[in-house]
Symmetry: C2
Subunit: 345 residues, 2 copies
């Protein structure tokens, strides 16, 4: 084993990315320096935020340089250690990148607790997406029993965490997902009270009419992770004093730099702003990496629920590093069912 494989950003996408934007490389295996370890990646995570890293528009995180390894979280086993902190055989989580192996300072890795379920849980339900759902809902959504919550990408790892926690808090939960199969998963597996298939509505107006039927008391919390048509449909249905945690807007990502060039046919900036004013909305953007100090609290609260089966999770596992680009592009189109993961080794 003298080489490692990695996937680099071959070129920046112009709109929707294609497989041509990625390139598989094989390079010499490095050795860990003082304080570092070598990790064999077993599973890597694919997440919507990676789309943003492919553009060089100014954003909250630096872009991946052209020719650089695609960023991402992964889990794996330490196979060589030059550190007192981690030993060979330890299972760890870290920002290992789209690669078969990774060299990292040991202090940048988190040793995994086997009692927290399968290794892959650290990438989804107990990892960054689950934590994002928990933080945004509890801290910014401030759910109260009897209220109504709406979340899109309802079967994804963020949406399904949000929906299940809200349900446990006594809210009516309404999901939005792409296709009848995902909608069935939302209600059957994740306990949503209702789920709408956004593909069944050709306009924000039609989606709004359907939402109105399943949200007879209006919407108190809209957990925003998609933007676009769903946001347009939801806004007029928000109740006074509603809360909107904003952690993403995937539907606009392909319009350049996290939606910098996106347009909206029916929703104007004044209309959006007016809703915030006249309904006393609380809209809060956040990125979970600013809140890692809360991760232990999340794990303490949610890991037992996952262990007891009170929080369900679904994973969609693609095989092989070389298939990561295709799986990523499929995920951006909503092709995944549950948390998208790639089995690397």
């Amino acid at each position: 084993m003298t080489t490692l494989k990695r996937i680099v950003l071959a070129s920046r996408p112009d709109g929707t990315p294609t497989e041509d934007n990625f390139r598989l490389e094989e390079v010499a295996m490095p050795a860990p320096a003082e304080g570092e370890v070598l990790v064999r990646v077993e599973y890597m995570s694919l997440d919507p935020y990676m789309r943003g890293r492919m553009d060089d528009t100014k954003s909250y995180a630096a872009p991946v340089p052209v020719g650089g390894t695609m960023e991402g979280g992964g889990v794996g086993e330490v196979i060589a250690s030059n550190s007192d902190i981690l030993a060979v055989g330890d299972k760890v989580f870290g920002m290992l990148g789209w690669a078969s192996h990774a060299i990292q300072p040991a202090k940048m890795l988190r040793k995994l607790d086997p009692s927290h379920g399968p290794l892959t849980a650290a990438l989804g339900v107990l990892g960054m997406p689950g934590f994002t759902g928990w933080y945004g809902l509890t801290e910014l959504g401030r759910p109260k029993a009897g209220e109504t919550l709406v979340v899109a990408a309802a079967t994804g790892p963020v949406g399904s965490m949000v929906g299940q926690l809200a349900k446990q808090a006594g809210l009516r939960t309404v999901g939005i997902a792409g296709g009848p199969e995902k909608c069935a998963m939302a209600t059957e597996t994740f306990g949503f009270d209702a789920c709408l298939d956004h593909r069944a509505y050709d306009s924000a107006r039609n989606l709004r009419a359907a939402l109105k039927e399943v949200c007879p008391d209006g919407i108190d919390i809209y957990y925003e992770n998609v933007g676009g048509k769903v946001l347009e449909a939801v806004m007029p249905l928000m109740n006074p004093h509603g809360r909107i945690p904003v952690c993403g807007m995937i539907s606009w990502y392909n319009a350049g730099g996290l939606g910098a060039g996106a347009t909206s046919e029916t929703l104007t900036a004044p209309a959006l702003w007016r809703n915030i004013l006249v309904k006393f909305l609380s809209v809060n953007g956040f990125i979970i990496s600013n809140h890692f100090d809360r991760y232990p609290e999340f794990l303490t609260n949610v890991a037992p629920l996952v262990a007891k089966g009170e929080i369900a999770f679904v994973e969609d596992i693609a095989e092989g590093l070389e298939n990561a680009p295709a799986a990523f592009l499929s995920m951006l189109r909503g092709g995944n069912k549950g948390k998208q993961i790639v089995k690397v080794s």
Copy 2:
């Protein structure tokens, strides 16, 4: 004295209101029923929110009915009392309307403390506008020493309160106002570190370039009361973790129902939303009438500052109830210098 005068809404405006939308009426003087008092109005307040009440678009407050007396706060003297709570001669504040006299339940009126300065202070610096500025800044703006604050309508009763409180909290304060005379008032009377004349910039882009010069460290708090060009100029300059309390958007009010029909040339809804996400902004709409429980706290904190001259205030007093519509229309165009009041008697 057998009649009272009042100004009613003659018709709903189509866009910018005109004097034709108002009508002066003289009607028989009513007598106070059990628990009520009769107040001779001395001064009445003119505020931007009244523009919203002239439309019948759904909003946070019911519209004034066509033929109904225009709503508004006023101060005056009790001249007949059918209540144990208030005596003839008491000076009171209440929602007295655009009228020479008003009948009100005594419990709906607030008896004024003469130590809090002139009667008119209850309409501005120590009334609803000053309270709005204080609440929005302290509760939703969460100012920290060393930060930069921007507020428009900087010489108005809300903007001047916001600017002075922020300055006292150690912030750099930048005002925006219409015309060189108001800008001079902002820096000289209200202590703003800088003030930009929005009329001197023909586009949001130009205003933004000028703002960037006077906000070298970006903007941490944008106290939103105008919308439009100022919002467009400010948004890209917001710092991460910035706060935007939203209490109004006067520049869009004439486009129907608090801006329901307004458009924005350069700012799209996705761009606005994207800024909230990538800068982790906290945007909170509010109306001060939801927070009257905090009014005593405001008075305790701010009335002494006003008495000591540490919070300055400027009033623009029009003469005569019959001139209220013209003064109101002028205020909507920015014609007032300081808090707009009408001396009724």
